[in-house]
């Protein structure tokens, strides 16, 4: 069992420049069912054996694609998300980094109240190792099928956490990189809710970072609803205040933004908080042992 992506995923790739094409190949090699690619001027051609359409609308009607991954450069990325949404793609994963915030304001308003799920932008994507479904840019070989779910704002920290889990022999159900931008489609609390309701997930790792109050929202949900063990790490405890650390979200702004306050909220919610990013895997191992899982 898993969430968001699995053996029924029929993947469509928007943006097949160097990076998009490269990661499409890697997803195919990992075992993912890639059914279509989009390029505005190369309709009718193929890319690595995948048929190309000029519009998402046509690709969805012809191939039954049900997940889209977006690599379109920042100036056109919001348009690409809206195109996929309009074509009725139920799950959209946007990898693109550097989208203007006002563009995402528009996207968020357009998606409000619809059933479309958007993951990202500025995210590593979603992967379910058990069904070999990679909708993202992560290095597939560090993942191991299993039943720990991972939620992270940061992409590289997903890989870091997963490598540690895999080294401990702990496999993963689904790993979700929700993205580092101030406005994202699916927030940590929603990703944790999905994993909490998934029968195939028995424990959750949540990687947050300084800035905003998403970790406090998640902590409130965990306290109320989550019986599964949750291991948490907050990146940026040592960052100087007021500076934007790459992720626009990671500006310490106000009391909720501070790592200490996020950790305190998560501890109060019953989470196992790891102070060191190097000990997240070991902390999960201990948590699983303590709970007899």
């Amino acid at each position: 069992m898993s969430v968001l992506v699995d053996e029924n995923t029929r993947l469509l790739v928007q943006g097949i420049g160097t990076e998009g094409a490269n990661h499409m190949r890697r997803s195919i090699a990992y075992g993912t069912n890639v059914v279509a690619a989009i390029h505005p001027r190369r309709g009718g051609e193929q890319q690595d054996g995948v048929p190309i359409w000029t519009t998402v609308d046509a690709a969805v009607r012809e191939t039954g694609a049900n997940v889209s991954i977006i690599f379109v450069p920042a100036p056109g990325a919001a348009d690409a998300i809206l195109e996929a949404h309009a074509a009725g793609v139920p799950l959209i994963v946007c990898i693109t980094e550097g989208i203007p915030v006002m563009d995402m304001v528009k996207v968020k308003a357009a998606l409000a109240g619809s059933k479309t799920v958007l993951i990202g932008p500025n995210c590593p994507g979603v992967i379910t190792p058990g069904t070999k479904t990679r909708v993202g840019i992560m290095p597939g070989d560090v993942f191991l099928p299993g039943n720990v779910g991972v939620v992270s704002r940061s992409g590289t920290l997903v890989y870091e956490v997963v490598a540690q889990l895999t080294n401990e022999g702990i496999g993963q159900s689904t790993c979700i990189g929700v993205g580092g931008d101030p406005i994202i489609g699916t927030r940590q609390i929603e990703a944790i809710r999905m994993l909490n309701e998934d029968a195939g997930t028995k424990a959750i790792v949540m990687v947050g970072e300084i800035g905003g109050s998403a970790e406090q929202e998640a902590a409130a949900y965990i306290k109320e609803h989550v019986k599964k063990p949750v291991v948490a790490f907050i990146a940026g405890a040592t960052a100087p205040p007021g500076r934007r650390m790459g992720h626009a979200g990671a500006i310490i702004s106000g009391e909720d933004g501070k790592a200490e306050n996020k950790k305190a909220a998560l501890r109060a919610a019953g989470a196992y908080v790891s102070d060191s990013p190097a000990e997240i895997g070991a902390t999960m191992k201990r948590a699983l042992q303590e709970r007899g899982l």
């Binding site: 940061s154 590289t156 870091e160 190097a278």
Partner: protein
Amino acid sequence: MKLHEYQARDLLASQGVPLPGGRVASTAAEARQIAEELGGRVVVKAQIHAGGRGKGRLVAASETAAMFQTLTTDPANNSGQVKGDRVGGVRLADTAAEAEAAAAAILGKHLVSIQTGPEGKLVKNVLVAAQTDVAKEYYVAIIIDGAQGSPLIMASTEGGQEIEVVAHKNPDAILRQPVNPAAGFEPYVGRVVAARLGFEGDQAAQFTKLLEGLYKTFVATDASLVEVNPLVVTTDGKVLALDAKVTIDDNALFRHKDIEALRDKDEEDPLEVMAQELGVANFIKLEGNIGCVVNGAGLAMATMDTIKLAGGEPANFLDIGTVNDPQRVVNALQVILEDPSVKAIFVNIFGGMARVDIIAQGVIDAHKQLKIDVPVVMRLVGTNLAEGEKLIEESGLPVIRATELGDAARKSVEAAGKVA
């Protein structure tokens, strides 16, 4: 990207926001000229990218660090009670001659305030604006509320003071009014905020118009912050923006070339400017001695955290991003080595979108192109690891290898000579 007050005023004025008359001057003679045009009674304000200007001190470049120490260690020095010729980057003048003298005292000096840091800020320009007789001060700002995905107006009757202090002491004194981005600034938004701030009649109408101008500026410029503190009602009943602060979303600068041209690189850390020019965008200078090259902002922050936990101090935050060209790694190392306090370099790469072999090639190229005389600790994991490993092996470089994050951090701290 931050803007100067005089630049922000121009943006606001173009959207109909009423401001006191005034212009920027770069010489005392120009300041006098502007003051004459405005009738003599003016305020002369140092234009720097930092707050606390009014209570700041004007000193020579050699004196900034000592002055910063004085201001930050003894609260009495920053109370606003100290008088003297060196005190105050914002000065009132009753005549054009006084305005000229005030500008002469400010221009060319380094202004040190509790927000400038120990380097202070060189004052190249002053804003000369008409004095205003203030009856009441307010605070108004527009930001993005990430959780709601919409612009948010924040306003308070507690204007004219540091809003962070208000937020801390009395959070209820700040009202929050979201704006539906699809509908935009409908008249009700202005009516609601005006009423909650206690505006009535003609002043409510004036305030609503001003607020709409701020919202239009926010949207038209892709701002991440528009802030007016204080917004004032004058003794003769006018509603004016007495200060202006606008910060632009860096990601949107590609569609605002005119605003990008307003960038003042002198206000930024020289190392960070150099990093920008070399295509190493996400670089922030810190105080420690371990230079960091990392991919991904989250891992970069976690790397700093791990170094601290191992007893060391990072010299920088650097997210090298998705590297397609080894030269970017060379450039990153060049920026880091520019900092004389760097005693070791920690390259921590977990390849996903970024490829380990390109990073490895970059480190090898850097050893050929640059003089690297500090130890380099390399931890490589992820996409194209085998190819990267092979390159490093064959190069025979004296790099310190590590595979696990905690171990790599400990080795970096040891290499920098600060054993945990």
